[in-house]
């Protein structure tokens, strides 16, 4: 076994890249050398050969789903995936050569488009697989998702207890915020990575500002509109216990906000790494159906 990490693209010194390049080159040379009496199409002997290769390739690419689910055996799944990617890419060229670059408003072109959709959704998958794992690790910062969720729940409890001692309005703001915090959910929510912890923070800030205004009115004019100035004001000692609690509450809610956006982002990355499969796999089954229709129609109705 190898004592280092290799990605799917450079598996076994990019063996499958070279294989795919060689296959493409062979097909291109054959296509250039072949000069049939009619314009190149699927009906010539080269067309049939390329078509057979492409058809078999599609079936083999489909087998990946089975291979992924059979856990015994001795080959590595990484090698299969590497081959799946490179040979899948080669399929574009072979299919186009097979068709002699002819397209039209017919079943065959529809099948070609289906196949291209599958392949390009696969490209998006490769992009996701290469890009998001690193981002996900960085975002998580060594915490697990369940640990972050636990901490959020705990912050909620503490915030509620704190708000309870301030005033009913603040309490209801915090409670509403807790009830409104939704992480995950439908596909779109997952992909958008939004959480609703902003509203509460804004509410608490407003409450603090209102208090500050009152205090200012009582204690003379003081400049400073921002929350930072207010924190200074609070720290100056003219505040009461409630303001102290409010300040603590802001800390808690800010921390929660940071965590909630982290979790939302985590879910987003995970969703991105999975969503493409929901297109790739059904479309690939449709492609197989298309393949059958293509072959049947060619042999029976041409």
């Amino acid at each position: 076994m190898n004592a280092r990490h290799e990605s799917i693209l450079n598996h076994a010194r990019s063996r499958w890249l070279w294989f795919s390049l060689a296959l493409s080159l062979t097909c291109l040379i054959a296509y250039a050398w072949h000069s049939p009496s009619v314009p190149p199409n699927g009906g010539t002997w080269l067309g049939y050969t390329l078509g057979t290769i492409a058809g078999l390739l599609i079936l083999w690419l489909m087998l990946f789903g089975l291979r992924k689910r059979s856990y015994s055996g001795s080959s590595s799944l990484r090698g299969w995936l590497s081959a799946h990617i490179y040979l899948g890419t080669t399929l574009i060229l072979i299919a186009l050569l097979h068709a002699g670059f002819q397209v039209g408003w017919n079943l065959h072109t529809f099948f070609l488009i289906l196949m291209l959709l599958v392949i390009f959704s696969g490209f998006f998958g490769v992009y996701c697989y290469l890009r998001y794992p690193t981002l996900m690790t960085r975002n998580r910062d060594s915490a697990t998702r369940s640990a972050m969720l636990e901490e959020i729940a705990e912050l909620d409890q503490n915030a509620l207890a704190l708000a309870d001692g301030i005033d009913p309005k603040v309490h209801s703001i915090v409670l509403r915020s807790i009830q409104n915090t939704r992480l995950g959910g439908g596909v779109l929510t997952q992909l958008r990575a939004r959480d609703d912890s902003d509203a509460a923070l804004a509410g608490i800030r407003a409450a603090l500002e209102a208090r500050e205004k009152n205090n200012q009115a009582a204690g003379g004019a003081k400049s400073g509109q921002t929350i930072f100035a207010m924190v200074d004001f609070l720290a100056s000692g003219t505040n009461d216990r409630q303001a102290e609690a409010l300040r603590k509450l802001i800390d808690l809610l800010s921390r929660k906000k940071a965590l909630a956006s982290k979790v939302a982002r985590d879910i987003q990355y995970q969703a991105l790494m999975e969503i493409w499969l929901y297109f790739h796999v059904p479309l690939s089954f449709a492609t197989v159906a298309g393949l059958i229709a293509h072959v049947v129609s060619v042999f029976f109705y041409w």
Partner: protein
Amino acid sequence: MSERFRIAIVGSGPGGISAAARAAERGESHVLLEAEPHLSNTIFRYQKGKFVMDEPGILPLRSPVPFKAGSREAILDAWNESAARLKINVRHNHEVSAIRRRDDGLFQLDCANGARFEAQFVVLGIGLQGNIRKLGTPGEDLPFVQYQLDDPDEYEGETIVVVGAGDAAIENAIALAKQNNVVIINRRDEFARAKKGNETAILKAIEDGLIECYYNAAPERVDALSVGRKKGRMVLSTPNGKAQLLIDRVIARLGATAPRGFVEACGVVFPSKDPAAVPAISPQYESNVKGLYIVGALGGYPLIKQAMNQGYEVIEYIRGERVEPADEPLLKAKLGGMPGFRGVDEALARIQKNVRVLSHITPLQLREFMLDSDLRTPRPGETVFARNDYTNSFYSIVDGEVHIALDDAGQQHITLRRGEFFGEMGLISGRRRSATVKAGAGCVLIETPRRSMNRLINSVAAVKREIDEVFILRAIQSRFAPEASAEQLKEMVAGATLQKFAAGDVLFSEGEIGDCLHLVRVGSLTISRTIGGKDVVLSYVPAGNYVGEMALLGESRRSATARASIATETVRLDGDSFKKLVNRMPVLKLRLQAEYRQRAASNLAMQALPSGGDIIQFLLAQGAGEATDILLIDESLCVRCDNCEKACAETHGGTSRLDREAGPTYASVHVPTSCRHCEHPHCMKDCPPDALRRAPNGEVYIADNCIGCGNCERNCPYGVIHMASKPPKKPGLLSWLLLGLGPGPGEAPYDPKKSKKEPKEKKAVKCDMCKDEKGGPACVRACPTGAAIRISPEEFPAYAQSRR
């Protein structure tokens, strides 16, 4: 006033109850003294419905009391029924506090409740659990004061005082705090005795106000109240004076007193201070105190069936009957293959006469030793074990000879003869075999598994001394001077000493003057240098290698710091005698220099990498230094598909043995919660049926004779073992794909709740590195992106260099 019986049996565990039953059956005058109000307290305290197994399956049961694998309740019911049927004279609530042999030859047994008994013979079957420590205050036996907690969810809305600061107390308090008002009482000002995780958890619970804590406090008394809503009241003494708590329940978790002190007070001698040591007993289970017999776990026999057989036999022996020990047929089958076999006793005597290491032990120990061991008679030329095998059994030569190959071609070899032993290097270092051993003419060997050998080494000092001496000589010989004879090395061996280092201890530091070198015997070292004010790890030195020779050969100062990465033992070789040896043997000097050049080159390569050493340091901090094979996940490649976990579950009966997400990460290198197959596996430490084994390729696995006791789960510091029952079978791929029957490949098996009534047999499960899969570890094979790899610590430097 004291009662007199012929036989007094102390403790009603499997051994005691079996002895009492046999005595009752035979009409002997007997008494069974039990501290608790029920029989067999250890099994009684198992959790409800626990499945108890009856290993070893090959051993026949010999007892008037029935026992077969089943739920705790079924076993206890059968025992209670037998006790009543056979009219065993049992006295509950009689905790024996002292046993004394009087001058008139009778034993006098004093109980904590003041009762006194006299007996001609005493059978001690008190096990190893010890006595639960009670509160030691008035009211300690009130009905709402309890010393264990089966199910924390049983209690709701109560005020509960938990007394104690250990793991059990903390775990109980936290579990109870979910539904109850919990107060924890700590005699000291911190929770230092508990595991790190528990300590953090309790401190957090206290800070969050979930649990109230009294530090430096001790209960003074507990009173029952007849009025008010609370059942009782506890008076506490605290640093601020007395406090009073109204309570529903007290749960005291104060640990247990180990039985050793009590046993020693009875006059029984233990061979060593090692906590694993067991008292020496005769083949008839009699201790050094005449008339005092020891059965069961206390005598070193931890399994229920063994103890029950001994209980039966001990009564027969006391009656003067000769019983063939229950293991006689097993030993006969084992030793029958010995050339010139006449009988078990004769064969055992021959073994003891021929093998010097075994001459130090008692006949009963030898029987036990032979039950665990195997007799092997390989043909001449047959390989006993091969170099780089991971086996760790120990071999003694009863007859004939073996050849140890010194080079790969097998041209040069050393011959060992009758009475010598080999395999001690693998046993001690926990690493691969250092040489291939082939059988010679007339070879008869005893192969002993690691656990039995370690137990012997720990309980008989003479065995340990002898093995250590031979180890040092052979280690020097094989590492430095295979050409030299024992005579030439005599001076060096005499000056060699064994040294122990805790993890993180420094063997020598950079810049010191070197006067010795170290051969690593157990554990591993890291070599580091201070570069730019920072300690940079340059290499990892596993057991079997040496460090510090260069300061003796050329430069006189140490060029780097050597530090123990885990608990380590080295053979320290004296510098002067080593220099002499080098001067006498120019070949050695050349060889050392060649090795040095190689090391220096790889160290330089590591130095050139700014972060290379950091990764090694991170891995070692995760305990990877004691690993032999560790799963690493590159998080920049991992797409979190969990196919590794699915593959693990699919290839191992539906339960994944790895937790991908858990575990620390550094610079994208993630160490998931998964077995590292330690050199000296912590899980093997205390396995009653010896079910934890090491396969020739290094895989530490659990054999089918696991009894589900959970010791390994508790002993593993990495949390990679858990208890699981077999999930239901899954449908085939096609019936899932086409008909949708049951869970598909990689999907979790359905909740087996349907059959919840019946106690499910739970066994320990852990990673076995897919030793039965021809393609190797399924987790690695099933990773679609190549994020998961398994590597051994020797490969860390190369791995670190590959990640820049």
